[in-house]
Amino acid sequence: MSKVPRIPNLGGAKTFVLHRPHPTVQAITRQLSAIGLETVGCWPELPAEVLAADFVFFDADLGFDEQFPWKPGEAPMPLVALIGSEAPGRIEWALSHQADAQLLKPVGNAGVYSALLIARQSFEARKLQASEISSLRLRVAERQTIVRAVEALSKGAGDGRAYAQLRSLAMSWQISVEEAARRIVAMTEEEGGDDQSHRA
């Protein structure tokens, strides 16, 4: 996990509140200003500047996909759902956008600060997990390359020793085993003119 600063420095962070003009927006804006954030209210569309926002609060009651300049679940910043009606369809829709935290309407005197911190932490965790998953996927996709590299290195010496050699090459080149396997397969192909695909 990346190290989160412990005094959460939210000063000057920019927040968009996607909600029709309503006392709820005033209550959220008051709390955000007290914490030290800059707030922009908008409805029904999010302006282009939203891509540079630090947080987006959105109305789960009247919201719809076309309001967002990103696909559901791919927001580049933490999202907080503002939930009034607990109709299952609306909750399902808010979930499809992967809200990182929620705030129940009507919004009173508190709740925004914890929503900000929870949203930020779960957004960061989700981002980290996604990048780990994608790097693992890439590595899994290289299984066949490893088999072929081991084959190329073994030359009668046995698979165990060939794999150990592959690992030690990866270490000395300071790259992953998969990357080393790709290099070896490429070298073998250059030598043997083999042009088979090496991806699983």
Binding site: R6, I7, P8, N9, L10, G11, G12, R30, Q31, S33, A34, I35, G36, L37, G108, N109, A110, Y113
Partner: protein
Amino acid sequence: MRAIADINADRSSGIELVPVERDPQSNADRYATLCEDIFRTSSARHVVGCVTSWSRKETIPVLEKAGGMLWYACPYEGFEANEHVVYMHACPNQHLVPLMAHVVPRFGANGFLLGSNYIWGWEMNRVARDLIADAGGKVLGERYLRIGETDVSRLIAEIRATRPNFILNNLIGTSSYAFLAAYRDLAAEDAAFSPENCPVISCNLTEGELPAIGESGKGHLSVGPYFAPRPAAFASSFEASAYASVQVMADVLSRKPDAGPAEFSKAFAGQRFSTRLGPIGIDAHSQHATLPVIIGRIADGFFEVVSREDEVAPDPYLSRYDPAKTFGRPRLRVVS
């Protein structure tokens, strides 16, 4: 009460305030019920009171239900901004942060953290841990005592063993007095623990407690928006801040007698109030006061002013806290 009497005696104020008194006798469970009682049995909607954060948090739901307003005249740990509360005493950027900024370059950055076992101690020490890390220091110990506990021998032994540069004291009442007395005995045995070498620093210690602390407080540090000059207008910053609360309240009510919380927030915007704490502003969003920050050293029954900064704007969530500004350029750290 003195502020109310003064305002009622001042014909130019144009209003008369009628006090309704209830005494919860420091029992945290009685604050909410007595506050409810005030709202039910009288037309009063403004409450000046509460000392601990615990009592304030107990009172808030009652204020929200009745549309009442609490004028809170004690330092607290920050991270709150309720529109039914006006925070008239210091929050962390007006007490702990400047106190640490004063202490670290003079004594060192390694601290020992003490607290009574409730929200003030927990949250203050949490912020202090971060500040100490930012200053390049180490937390050499963090210990809590239950409220009222006076056996401090283990704390003293741990402090003696770890040899910190300063001790942050968030103990309250008798625990705090017992600790200061035992710490003075330690200093008599080993000068490394004298106030000149390793001070005890506090954010809530006022003149009101000096008689109970006696000689053992001498030389240690505290911070607040007011320390009583001699002769003093007020006994402590709590009193001065309560007086200022009534002044601001009367000022707004004289212009708009039926003002509720929303109108108060509007009345604070861009306005400066002349009070016994000096001219102060109140941030319309967070309802925290802009206050002087004074660091005081305990002398014979009073505080000597060590430093003073006027009109420090509140930042209850430490959103504008900048380690480089507070402690100078970042120190080198060992990277493992």
